[in-house]
Amino acid sequence: MKSTAHAFKDNAHRAMQDPQLTRALNKFKTGFPMKRAQAVAALPEFEALRDVGKAIKDHTLAHLDLYLETFERNVRAAGGHVHWARTAEEARSIIRGICKAKNARLVTKGKSMVSEEIGLNASLQEDGLEVVETDLGEYILQIRNEAPSHIIAPALHLSKEQVADDFRRVHTDLPADRRLSEPNDLLTEARVRLRNKFLQADVGITGANFLIAETGSTVIVTNEGNGDLTQSLPKTHIVLTSIEKVVPTLEDASTLLRLLARSATGQEFTSYTTFSTGPKRADDIDGPENYHVVLLDNGRSALLGTEMQEVLRCIRCGACMNHCPVYHAVGGHAYGWVYPGPIGSVIDPAILGVKEAGHLPNASTFCGRCESVCPVRIPLPKLMRHWREKEFEANLQPKAMRYGIGVWGWFAKRPALYAAAANIGLRAMAAVGKRRGRFKALPLAGGWTDTRDFPAPRGPPSRNSTGAAAMAEQSNAARDGVLGAIRKAASHLRDEAAARAAVEQRLSAHARNLLPARGQIPHAERVELFIRMAQAVAASVERVPERSRIPQIVADYLSVHNLPARLRAAPDPELQSLDWSGLPTLEVAFGRGEPEDQATITLAIAGIAETGTLFGASGNDAGPTLSFLPGTHIVVLPVDRVVGSYEEAWDLLRQRQAAKGLGMPRAVNFITGPSRTADIEQTSLVHVHGPGRLHILLVDSAADAPPQGS
């Protein structure tokens, strides 16, 4: 993306003249902070979790090379590929190379700020590829040819009328007089449109919120379900991510996930959190055949071991911009590059240089509200001040300001003179001011007195060769380059043997960090909590006295919701062993999910009371096509599988896989309610790309005993 950060003042001026943007920002600046405050108030451990989250990231950054190598090793062990990219250009050429090798024509994309950072779409389009953004907000921006104005709510600046005009302009095959007045009309049109793209895509590209060293997994956190369809349906899944996203273990990711959604949107948990590990296994029912991870550096390793290192803790939640009064005044586009708001004011100069992006760290009052809400306690004002120091050292500041600070400083170091000099000017001002109390205009202070009275004193990218040998050579050089840079920063700060031992220890210990007390309660209460939390995110829960009743209950549910008596069921022995024959009118087919399926049924591995979350994994008995393609998803959850926390679910999964002689499944899904979005005018809507209905059958077991391992 081309930067206009140098034109921040002009950008900001234009933004503040835009009445639609002002309306959107006014709604945003109260809505988001309020939602966050409510979510934080509901979790007593939140402040302590911030400290733990910071510690996890600090530990990882101190051993970044070792964790990245572990991550790489485990991705490869799972059958995936890892590519290292020192620069945006290298990352683009790697992805172009993969698409070319697969003869791709259509590429779907999940939401990825790193792809904005490297300007990926334009470079793929140059190769003649069709590239489709599938996050609703990003799709809208793509047809408008606009950049995101916020890292998680990319289209928050637009009105539904603007979106309707764009849809009429672009979707010319639809009747011109169709109704597009409500957010839901727009959502429905986009869903139908994008559904075909998901199904036809050759390559799906997503970002990653976290990378897990322990298992070689990449994690995406979404609400719409578009990311899961993007990475599950095409033959090839490419994960474009950056080196600072790695964390040691599944438990560490769980801790950070408790911070992420609450900080970002005020949700307890997003609808979908998905861990992907390698390509489809031989007997999996679905999933991509190829899995590639591109690890981008692009200036990040240069921050290690410097005062700026702390910015690499960022988990991209957006809380800083949600609470920033400058962002609220000017919106995201004014910042002129990929990352807006306080975090942008710290990251952008690191990547673009302080000459280009110097305005951003200066355009802050240092009010500190960003730092007070940052989930990993990044001292954003301090880091912005650091850029100002760099600017000062490089003599890049406006001459008048530098001169002013110089003159003022010379006097301020001399108390007697300072008082005298100040008094000469002030006495003159006071003599005039006494009569009026304030000034309408002052020389040299136009910026103030234009709008305020002044109280008177009292007293071009290069082309890389894409030959295979050249690519391999470049890839090795890039890997050595990135890891070398990281080692250079870390080496004088640590004892190598001790560092390796610490990493080994952390990877094997699976320490649980800090479990919220909320879920650590007796089993019966935990089940009640699960039901309450699931219902709070618009899932429906039905208690089933015994499993033999499931077929009848499902048939009744379909009938009540006017759905055809057809059901796609996960090929799970437990579901297959139910007696479906008593319902001759209900058509049940076992297998992977298909595009025409209106309703599916799957079995959960666990239910997590903490947030009312369902926990499942892909295999020969389940997979994401069943969870994400239908409009209605029915999930069977035996009551004895309700656990308190994410960590207990990981333990259950580890036991289950070990019993089968398997490692991490290709896909692990946390599902919390139906699919949802707030991309149109910040209005919350369900049924985006994943199911609009999530119905949970909580099956009582004969012995109401808690599960093993919790």
Binding site: R369, G409, D453
Partner: protein
């Protein structure tokens, strides 16, 4: 509410080491602050009165500036020179107290960061920092003041200046003392914790954004129906007063110390002598 964890701060304050020897009044060095010195000495006099009423001995060492303007401009060398002068100026005082969360925040939190590579000065800065307090929180938290002897017949609203709120933990203290001012009613300000747009040189470097922020603030102030706006930092007060007056508002603007000291003899900020 977004206030940093105060328990550590309170513990530091309660550990007695920065306190006074038993049996004599604590010697408080008044950090006058540049803006009070230059624009509104009445706030300095109000601070002296409040400190003396609370049982302190007040001294005013010769001083210039804490260095914050240079610090935020990225000029480390100038900041260091000014900080060293301040550290020396206040040696021998039991406490350093100022009517500003911003200047005291600079001295309490930033001096140690400034001298992190200079062990000797870092130690001296540490000793100064732990003795440095914002005026109103010093009165309540350290001197144990429960009530001031003052009256004001009217409705005030209160803006939480950023540095006071987020760096120094000033939130409940001014409200507690205002509650004891006879006749005074407090109308809480919507979005009281949102920055007014002053931000030191920010307000002249980015006047348009600053103006939008202070205009939003002025709208919130007027929505309370209060006849007076109070805050604890002169920069913010001058910014808000300037905008309110340009918009033709009749809301009077004062530093909270003036009301707590019961001394409204100076005209409100930006008003002329005859209008009080």
């Amino acid at each position: 509410m977004e206030v940093r964890d105060q328990s550590a701060l309170r513990r530091e304050q309660a550990d007695g080491q920065s306190g006074r020897p038993a049996g004599r009044a604590p010697k408080v060095g008044l950090l006058v602050t540049c803006l009070v010195d230059l624009f509104r000495p009445s706030v300095g006099f109000a601070a002296v009165k409040l400190l003396e009423d609370a049982g302190c001995e007040v001294v005013v060492p010769r001083q210039t500036c804490c260095g914050q303007p240079a610090w935020n401009a990225g000029d480390r060398a100038t900041t260091e020179a000014l900080a060293k002068a301040m550290i020396e100026a206040f040696e021998g005082c039991d406490y350093v107290v100022g009517p500003s969360g911003s200047c005291t925040g600079m001295m309490r939190l930033h001096y140690q960061e400034l001298f992190k590579d200079d062990a000797d000065w870092a130690l001296r800065a540490h000793h100064l920092s732990r003795r440095t307090h914002e005026l109103v929180s010093f009165l309540t938290d350290i001197m144990g003041v429960e009530k001031v002897d003052a009256a004001y017949q009217g409705t005030v609203t209160y803006h939480d200046s950023c540095a006071g709120l987020r760096e120094m933990g000033v939130k409940a203290q001014p409200r507690k003392l205002l509650a004891g001012v006879e006749g005074l009613k407090l109308a809480e300000l919507p979005e009281a914790e949102v920055c007014c747009g002053f931000g030191g040189t920010f307000c002249v470097k980015y006047p348009e954004i600053s103006t939008k922020m202070v205009s939003d603030k002025a709208g919130n102030i007027q929505s309370t129906g209060a006849d007076m706006l109070l805050a604890g930092d002169m920069g913010c007060l001058m910014n808000m007063a300037g905008r309110l007056q340009r918009l033709g508002s009749t809301v009077k603007v004062r530093h909270v110390a003036e009301v707590l000291a019961g001394d409204l003899s100076a005209p409100p900020i930006g008003e002329s002598e005859e209008k009080k």
